[in-house]
Amino acid sequence: MRFVPALILTITALFLVSCSQDSPVSRATKQKVLLMGNTAEPRGLDPHIVSGVLENNIIRGLFEGLVTEHPSKDGIALPGVAESWGPTDPKNPIEWIFNLRKEAKWSDGVPLTADDFLFSFKRILTPELGSEYSFMLYYIIGAEDFHKGKTKDFSTVKVSAPDSHTLKVNLRSPIPFLPEITKHYTWFPVPKHIIEKHGKPEDRFNPWTKPQNIQSNGAFTLKSWKLNDHIEIQRNPLYWDTKNVALNGIRFLPISNSFTEDRMFYNEQLHITYTIAPDLIEYSRKNFKDMTRNEFYFGTYFIRCNVKKGPLQDVRIREALSITINQQDIIDFVTMGNQSPAAGIVPPFAGYNSPGNIKFDPERAKKLLGDAGYSEGNGFPKIKFLTTDRESSKRLAEALQAMWKKYLGIEISIQQMEWTSYLNTMMSKDYDLAAGGWIGDYMDPLTFLDMWIKDGGNNRTNWSNERFEELLGEAEKTAGQKERYEILGRAEKLFLDERPILPIYWYTRNYLIHNHVKGWDPLILDNHPYKFLDLVAD
């Protein structure tokens, strides 16, 4: 029985040793290692396979594209692998030249050349790889046909390398914002020599991203990866700009329980959280005022209407439902995250203001409903509102249910489903109303508009409109940004008039950030370039 006293002694000793130490945050600050909540275990680190925000957070640290984000300004491109870039004809930006820096290297010292980019583009577009995000490259001539298997000849895709440090890209239409698109990880280079060493490039199971195999070209390289525990990246000494990188590393923690994450922050275990649980926002604002952030984020929350089913075929009914949603009340009492009421589908950002003018107006809604033949909601069939099984989704659905009952006298039933069933039900269009959201991939209205084309994979509303698609086509041919935005604005107006979706709010991101973190400014896409961050204890 000597085991028990020994155990007690050990635990006591551990307690005493641990008590005298600094908090994890203070220690990490001294070591210049950022501790970051990242919500879940990533699906992988292969930029051509993954598609989520949390994978993006890690991949942006490991890899660098042609250009990089500005630390505090949206829509500005700073040099990345490319030293300089531009269209051959600025009036018609259809052919672009990127001049790659000669000193660019992979973390094993192998030079990074234009060939790596060509290899990457070919790999992500190879149908057998099954990349979910390859449509981000469809702007290149021939990319879509190659990806859809219409041709096996990659030379039909108009990207080329006139020499080993020059990359030429020919687009199917003029795109003045191409550098913005190349910030997305689908355009990043992947190491040809490493991928080929570990298997076939088009093999999804190619183990090149394993910790012992991976080489990257960004400010950091992979240090350790323990499933569901952490991923740590460390400074890459061979990165071209490494002397200007202040951090020694970043530790990403897959904390799926947001209450746990927030409590870890309150107790100095994290520098940055992924989010704040809605129930803890008020507490955080009160007790951690200068560390609680609420920032505009490039996303919209809305409800899809199945426009080919039941009463929702009538645009008047869709509008009536839309303008009886008291958006501000939902923000104040349900989501509690200080979001903005959504007047349209595209969130406003520099240069573009949504033409949408959706406002709470129950009087007009009653009239519209009456015109449609359901005065006071009489005779209105019971419709179903599809949403996910999360508690927050349920709360929102119940609020909407109450609003429509109160202002229109109509009944809806809430149908909660677990995530995959919810998506499948929506995709098979077996719903009346369905909750949903969209996060923009790049800084342009198009990322919120081109999904609504006929039979588009993310449309799911049965809605389509020829004039809408004509306008998108017109915008595609227009080079000047102002004219383009004006055309896209008309397209959005038309879309909103038809109301296949009922906008609710534009996203904000609520998170906690420790005041040791320097150089983290609000960015609408939330892609903070880690190379400009620093950790300084006060």
Partner: protein, 308 residues
């Protein structure tokens, strides 16, 4: 003895085959497929290519045969459709944390549950008995998703040595194992009390007392051996449950264990991980049950292994 073990192992094999069949078809018939659990839609071409990569394009009955074949010939449980890594890799990386957590939880369960049960039985219908059973009742009734956060807010937030969540330091084991073990402790307390009461009324205990033995040695030397039998039978499968992980405790305390794979694989329709972890759990249950029976036989000479 050896014959008995072999016989039980053979039965175990049958159990595993039945388990595999049930799990395989339940997973196969779930609505949706692993490639439809992402918000962004993927094109039909991409979906077909992915199905082909995982062999999910074949008819279900073929998949049903291929899986055990790969398991026997290559030792492969398949590759996760969600995490893109071998299922073995996932199990081997997450099982150690679950094992450590489960063993500590079992220590806590036995260390708290059995003494309370014995004490309650020997002090039947006294304040100690009622108090002990009240604690046990509370332990059974309060779910771990309440106990966990309460421990975080009361202990971890106040004591600098304890972290809210995380896994890496030896002290990180304390709070999750208490959370995980408390329910089992409560159940054990009730079970031990019940069987101890029965034993304490037996003739041989009365004889021992009549010989003038002290209550302590009567309880420990004579009664406990028989009194613990139901608890031992219970501990076997309970131990398998503890070491195969708990979704709730793991997510509250950020433990990189196996429990979360059961839930996440079901949500994400990841057929390979789901089958892999269920079969692994099944295997643990089979072995723990066998171990529990062997221990019971060692404790109780009246159990003859050969005849069961």
């Amino acid at each position: 003895m050896l014959k008995y073990i072999l016989q039980r192992l053979l039965q175990g094999l049958l159990v595993m085959a039945a388990l595999y069949t049930i799990v395989f078809f339940l997973v196969g018939w779930m609505p949706g497929d692993p490639f439809s659990s992402n918000e962004k839609n993927i094109s039909p071409e991409v979906r077909e290519n992915m199905k082909k990569a995982w062999g999910l394009d074949k008819p279900l009955w073929q998949q049903y045969l291929i899986y055990p074949k790969n398991l026997i010939t290559e030792g492969s449980l398949g590759v996760s459709t969600e995490k893109n890594r071998p299922v073995w890799d996932i199990i081997l990386q997450s099982f150690p944390a679950s094992l450590i957590l489960g063993v500590s939880a079992l220590f806590i369960a036995v260390g708290i549950g059995v003494p309370i049960g014995i004490l309650s039985a020997t002090k039947k219908n006294t304040a100690i008995d009622y108090g002990g059973m009240a604690i046990a009742m509370i332990g059974i009734c309060i779910p771990s998703f309440i106990i966990g956060p309460v421990l975080q807010l009361t202990l971890a937030a106040k004591i600098p040595a304890l972290k809210i969540a995380g896994w890496g330091h030896p002290l990180d084991i304390i709070l999750p194992s208490i959370t995980l073990g408390l329910g089992t402790a409560a159940y054990l307390a009730r079970l031990t009390r019940g069987s101890m009461l029965e034993i304490l009324n037996q003739d041989y205990i009365r004889t021992a007392k009549a010989k003038g033995l002290k209550t302590f040695s009567v309880v420990i030397k004579h009664a406990l051996r028989g009194g613990l039998l139901p608890s031992v039978a219970f501990i076997g499968p309970a131990f398998a449950a503890l070491i195969s992980g708990s979704f709730i405790v793991e997510t509250i305390f950020q433990v990189p264990g196996m429990g979360q794979h059961f839930v996440n694989a079901a949500i994400k329709r990841d057929p390979f991980v789901l089958r892999g972890v269920v079969l692994f759990y099944g295997l643990l249950i089979v072995f723990m049950n066998l171990a529990a029976d062997l221990i019971a036989a060692a404790l109780n000479p009246r159990i003859r292994l050969e005849k069961t």
